[in-house]
Amino acid sequence: MKMKKLFVFLLPVYAIAGLILFNAGKDGDTKNTGTKTDSRNTATAPVTANAGLTLPTGFSAAAIIENLSSPRHLVVTPQNDIYVHLSGSNNGKGILVLHDDGDKATLKTGFANYGGTGITIKNGYLYASSNSDIYRYKLNDKNEVIDPAKPETIVTGLTNKRMHNSKSIVLDNDGNIYVNIGAYSNICSDYDKDKKGCPVLADAAGIWQFKADKLNQKQSDGVRYATGLRNVVGLDWNQQDNLLFVMQHGRDALHDLYPNLYTTKQSADLPAECMFALKNGDNAGWPYLYYDWMQHKKMLGPEYGGDGKKEADSKYLEPAAAYPGHFAPDGLLFYTGSQFPEKYKNGAFIAFHGSWNRAPEPQEGYCVVFQPFKDGKPDGKYEIFADGFAGPNKSPDGALHRPCGLAQGPDGSLYVTDDQKGTIYKISYKK
């Protein structure tokens, strides 16, 4: 009874205190934002400059088109046309054709009754993938698709079990096409309960190689070129090395599955997102190991007897470079243009889509990184090249934009897609 009275008596006190607290908080916020904006304005340019991105000195960015429906990978022709693959097919337009007029792009047309990720041009053909097939379209001498309604089917029936089903593609210089087939599992534990060997590796978790000009191939007609790769989205052919490079999305949930071995902080930082240079027959070791980018060691996975300290068998492929956990590399591009300063030539740009599996730790990524290369090998630490895509809320649902695909234009500009809000950015350099 007394208790109730006391509470009623105190109610107005709470109300007033709450109001003051609320307003005090608001004041603080306003002041903070004000200061930030002011300092930015005086230091460089308004916040909206460079389409909201922060870039190294001398670079500028423009949002050349906005509000596309989840654009994934893209390719730019010598005539400044852009083919961009949407994750879904909207009204039979899974691939859009844009024309880049400099600082803005206009929509020309669209085709393909399938969504997907992979898209590239080689030897007079546009190659594109759905989540289970690879098609190609003959191009005319202006790099326009001659018959958008009648693609040739190169490969059909690739493993597609929903999880990690996007199929990125790239060609070499010898008539082969490479496609990633992601593992339909985080760490294979549901498929390998007795730890006898992960069966997912038979038809997924690797890169498959097919003939680029042979029609109607099945997965079994291809070569499992490299295995032990959990999921690759960003990949590119390095012309200097004449070698395939891929970016692997590392495993999730070390802490969730093994709270006694990994803290939430360790689970956010680990494992590394790895870059691999692949040769035929390579095995990167998923699901048996993960890479620790802080110790520079291949670690035995906890599902297979690891304890956070035991190293993995050295027979597995060493990564070419490693990046912090869960950054989600969705795009890889070797820069061969001449517009950017000399140090960028033959180096790698990586689009990091941004993390979700770092929760409850803060999310990271949501940026485009530059990895310097020397003599065809990663050389030194990566640099954040373009940042600010996410805006104030770096989280998967709160991010304004999330970088995904990368392409190089004929003048050496760099194009970046954002599959969250559908922006395409064009990044250029002027001395």
């Binding site: 007394k2 929760a359 409850p360 998967p396 649902d397």
Partner: protein, 142 residues
Amino acid sequence: MKFKIACLALVTSLFILNLNAQVRHPKKHSSSASSMARGKIVYSSICLSCHMAGGAGVPHLNPPLINTTYVLGDKAKLIKIVLNGFNEDVEINGQTYSNTMTPHSDLKDQQIADVLTYVRKSFGNKASSVRIAEVKRARATK
């Protein structure tokens, strides 16, 4: 300054209230409130890393727990998802989600009731509690 005084007043009065509560009503908690509190702990340690602190999930990968019949509808179905995991095509408000959810049958009935009560009453959701008996029933039926 205003801020400090307000904090002090709030903390002091809460302290007094709390003392009173402890002295006079040592066990006066509604069962739903404590189920929510326990459920939040389960959620934070098991669910949060995929479905996020605010239940919004991750676009294209992990489904949201807000404004969906998967959460607000049939409780038996919802309990089954926790017990058996989830590896089906799912479309919520026009978007699809591709990640596989692992089974959580190792959780105790109480924990499942608590965490689902928490999920059904949080993030703007306003659905009924999940009781232990309902979890037991779902566990017993195939």
